[in-house]
């Protein structure tokens, strides 16, 4: 893969993903006996019908997906299969809520910043657990992070029925975050908040970090071949692994903090409809490229926003879109394989050994669950 490919391929993939998604969805709708036209029209209306819908629907949904997608991408780039973005996001949301409740409303934006920092730290700390288990005891992070997701979910559930429960003690959720502590809106008249801009800036920063900085380079090389990074580069791969894991968790945690301060204004158990899992699809579709992740988060955001509209208007179960998302990822992985074959037959050096899969094509990548 040359540099130009690294930029153009993800863009082509996004286009392809959109076309595939529509094709698969149409087929599914037709088979299930829904009106393809009505359903697709509702999907489109729900995702792109106006600037206001784009902002309040698609981009709003894309925001947590972008935070968690970046979290997953940076971990995968370091050779860490972090499946725990969901749990890291939830604990980030929990810590941010706790902070937002604790600080007086008079703190204003400073209080918001404190809440975001709390989420960042909580997500990073939660990821530090599987990181330590991995480098100390060789525990597979796929397993530990999946398990810790369950722990995080139940911790959140416990807190919203206990110390963080709203004052009337009737609903399993936290009190509402004060108006003054909420994230400012990005566009007036829409629900889109400044968190989206923050996520896009983070994506750009991440691309710069991975490409230009020595730490980012160490992270990439550790992910591509940790033995060579250690032997030829003198890289402390244990340290890099732990730091990358914590960075990944912090991004997901920040995503959770942004969600509670920008969208829900309260913590409750089912805060995330599986953002941390869809994030894996977002990252893979972007081929772990942070800039492309902005595009792929928007694609998935549009699908999810459209799915709600489709359910409302055409009475098509929103779960259908989950099936489509999974199909798109499977087809993209297949297309990567086909692409490799084509590339190897046209390669100028036929003596090159066969490619081994790079981390981006990890076949164990789970498909996103239906939201």
């Amino acid at each position: 893969m040359t540099r130009t490919h690294a930029v153009t391929r993800p863009l082509l993939d996004l286009l392809l993903a959109g076309v595939l998604a529509v094709a698969v969805l149409s087929a599914l709708l037709a088979i299930s006996g829904y009106s393809v036209r009505d359903a697709l029209s509702a999907l489109w209306q729900g995702a792109f019908s106006s600037w206001s819908v784009i902002a309040s629907g698609t981009l709003l949904r894309a925001t947590p997906l972008l935070f968690t997608g970046l979290a997953v991408a940076v971990a995968f780039r370091a050779g860490i299969l972090n499946i725990g973005a969901e749990g890291q996001l939830l604990l980030g949301a929990t810590a941010a809520t706790a902070m937002a409740i604790a600080v007086p409303a008079s703190f204003g934006l400073i209080g918001t910043m404190l809440a975001l920092c709390a989420g960042l730290i909580a997500g990073g700390a939660w990821a530090f657990v599987p990181a330590l288990l991995k480098v100390r005891f060789g525990v597979l992070e796929v397993i530990s992070t999946i398990m810790l997701n369950v722990v995080a979910l139940n911790v959140t559930g416990l807190l919203v029925r206990g110390p963080l429960q709203e004052p009337t003690r009737t609903f399993p959720q936290s009190p509402l975050i004060e108006q003054a502590l909420r994230l400012p809106r990005l566009m007036t008249g829409t629900r889109l908040h400044i968190g989206f801009a923050l996520a896009v800036l983070l994506a750009i920063g991440m691309a710069w970090f991975l490409h230009a900085t020595a730490s980012g380079f160490r992270l990439r090389m550790t992910g591509a071949n940790s033995r060579a990074a250690s032997s030829a580069g003198g890289v402390d791969v244990t340290r890099v692994t732990v730091l990358a894991f914590v960075l990944s968790g912090a991004l997901a945690g920040l995503g959770g903090a942004v969600e509670v301060t920008g969208v829900t204004y309260a913590l409750y158990e089912n805060l995330s409809p599986g953002y941390g899992f869809t994030a894996i699809a977002v990252a893979l579709l972007a081929r772990l490229n942070p800039i492309a992740a902005v595009g792929s988060a928007i694609v998935f955001g549009a699908l999810e926003a459209g799915a709600s509209a489709m359910q409302r208007e055409a009475h098509v179960p929103a779960g259908m879109v989950g099936v489509v998302e999974a199909c798109v990822i499977l087809m993209l992985l297949a297309s990567e394989w086909v692409g490799e074959r084509l590339a190897s037959t046209t390669s100028w050096n036929r003596g090159a050994p066969p490619r081994t899969p790079e981390p981006s094509s990890v076949s164990a990548a789970p498909t996103p669950p239906s939201p």
Partner: protein, 494 residues
């Protein structure tokens, strides 16, 4: 067939149990086997010996169906044999205990034996069978022990019992004593003798000549993929075998004055690399290198000769600053070039660009931003200087041929003018042209005043490159004159 004088190249009479004839196998540019043959009779312990890379394991993998030959024929008790998988070979009565055991650690002994069987699983019957076989054979094993908890010697017994449970009459053991203590080795060889006396055939891949002469009935010697010698064990000597293995001249009956412990030679200048009483362990914590004291000076190529597993791996890594000694001190320069033998695993990142692979050196201590523009210029200059054939620095490492990859690695390791360069099997898998250019690069580094250390499993390569030679044998280091016979004897006489 080149036979040293004083040896007897007799061939057996009657149809042998296992006969391999004119077997050839090529891997890319490497002719691993070049018309090798082997004849093992029933009731015999047959030793298969040769240098590293002589093709011993490949030949046996072919007999066991793990590899297919390019050409050649095989017979078993006179009938044609062409196993396409180990399953075929096992059905025909051939078993093999490989160097890396094929066991499932998490399972019990009985489960491992049952694994690969057919029909219903009756662990109780399997356990009874194991108890009976291990009692008969004198190979104690607890059928209910979990394999991961067993010592290597017991795992090896399990591999043998596994083969015996499948009615194996011809058992191949690939360097079985390498993992055993002297007592355990004796027990194993005693068992092998008994198995053969009962009519079985044991083919023993081995290094230790004294051990082989004490146990084997007959011996086949491979060198560079060819059968050099087939002889009765009682008709040969350690020296004759060593000659056949290494292709030594026949007049090399010399005493041991060629071998003495290494020391730090007195020179007008201090050595660049100094080891004092260095003991080092492998990844499993076993002491591989013991009490090594030596110095490497500027402007010399120190050649290291050793058979596999003698401790050279650890010695090289200590000298390259990649392994911290358990005891003793290693005084090393701040910058050392290191070219490990497993290029794809340890030296390069195949999916990264050449530019990124260049940036890899020193990546651990780099701060701030990576100066890609400066590095791009350096990469282009280095590739020109080292004749690395690639379109541009942004080419992916994977697209380069092995020779160009190795030229790149050597160029990278020498790019910051390190005071020492340590290389391990630098030309493995390369064609003649690439080999020549690697050799030229090493000599040029020496001439420029670098202290160069070269290990190669090909003794001739060490002899051709080295200004001075040390031999590592049994974890000890010895100074040996640059003489093929003396070096060869010192290597084998561990």
């Amino acid at each position: 067939m080149v036979l040293p004088p004083g040896t007897n190249g007799t061939v057996t009479s009657g149809a042998p149990r296992l006969a391999l004839h004119a077997i050839s196998r090529r891997y890319g540019g490497l002719q691993a086997l070049d018309g090798a043959s082997l004849n093992a009779a029933a009731g015999e312990v047959h030793a298969l010996v040769g240098e590293n890379g002589a093709g011993k394991t490949t030949l046996m993998k072919i007999a066991f169906g793990l590899e297919t030959p390019d050409s050649g024929t095989m017979t078993l008790d006179g009938a044609p044999l062409a196993p396409r998988s180990p399953r075929d070979a096992m059905r025909a009565g051939i078993g093999m205990v490989q160097q890396h055991f094929a066991l499932v650690d998490a399972m019990t002994v009985a489960e491992n034996v049952a694994l690969g069987g057919t029909g219903t699983l009756d662990l109780h019957a399997t356990a009874t069978l194991i108890t009976r076989i291990s009692a008969d054979a004198g190979l104690p094993l607890d059928p209910h022990a979990r394999v991961g908890t067993l010592p290597l010697s017991a795992q090896q017994r399990l591999e043998i019992v596994k083969a015996l449970a499948r009615n194996t009459h011809t058992l191949i053991l690939d360097e079985p004593t390498a993992v055993l203590s002297p007592d355990e080795s004796r027990d194993l060889l005693t068992w092998a003798r008994r198995f053969a006396d009962d009519g079985g055939t044991v083919i023993l891949i081995a290094h230790k000549l004294r051990e082989i002469l004490s146990i084997a009935d007959r011996i086949t010697v491979l060198r560079r993929g060819r059968t050099i010698l087939e002889t009765r064990a009682d008709a040969t000597t350690e020296t004759a075998l060593a000659h056949a293995m290494l292709g030594l001249t026949p007049l090399a009956v010399r005493d041991k004055d060629g071998r003495r412990h290494t020391s730090i030679a007195l020179r007008p200048t201090n050595p660049i690399i100094t080891l004092r009483g260095v003991t080092a362990t492998d990844e499993n914590g076993a002491e591989r290198l013991r009490d090594a004291t030596l110095g490497v000076h500027a402007g010399e190529i120190l050649g290291i000769a050793a058979i596999e597993g003698a401790g050279q791996r650890e010695l090289l890594r200590v000298m390259a600053g990649r392994l911290t000694p358990l005891r003793g001190t290693a005084t090393l320069p701040a910058s050392i070039g290191w070219v490990p033998e497993d290029r794809h695993r340890d030296a390069v990142v195949l999916d990264a660009t050449l530019l990124e692979n260049l940036a890899l050196r020193g990546a651990g201590s780099r701060k701030g931003l990576v100066a890609w523009n400066t590095l791009r210029g350096q990469a282009a200059a280095m590739m020109r200087e080292r004749d690395v054939r690639a379109p541009e620095p942004n080419t992916t490492m994977r697209q380069l041929s092995g020779g160009n990859q190795q030229k790149f690695v050597i160029g990278r390791e020498l790019a910051d003018d390190p005071r020492a360069l340590v290389v391990e099997n630098p030309t493995r898998g390369l064609d003649i042209r690439a080999t020549t250019s690697v050799h030229d690069a090493l000599r040029a580094a020496r001439d420029a005043g670098t202290a160069v250390v070269v290990y190669s499993s090909d003794l001739d390569e060490v002899l051709a490159l080295a200004d001075r030679i040390i031999v590592v044998a049994g974890g000890r280091t010895y100074d040996v004159p640059n003489d093929r016979d003396l070096v060869g004897r010192a290597m084998l006489d561990a």
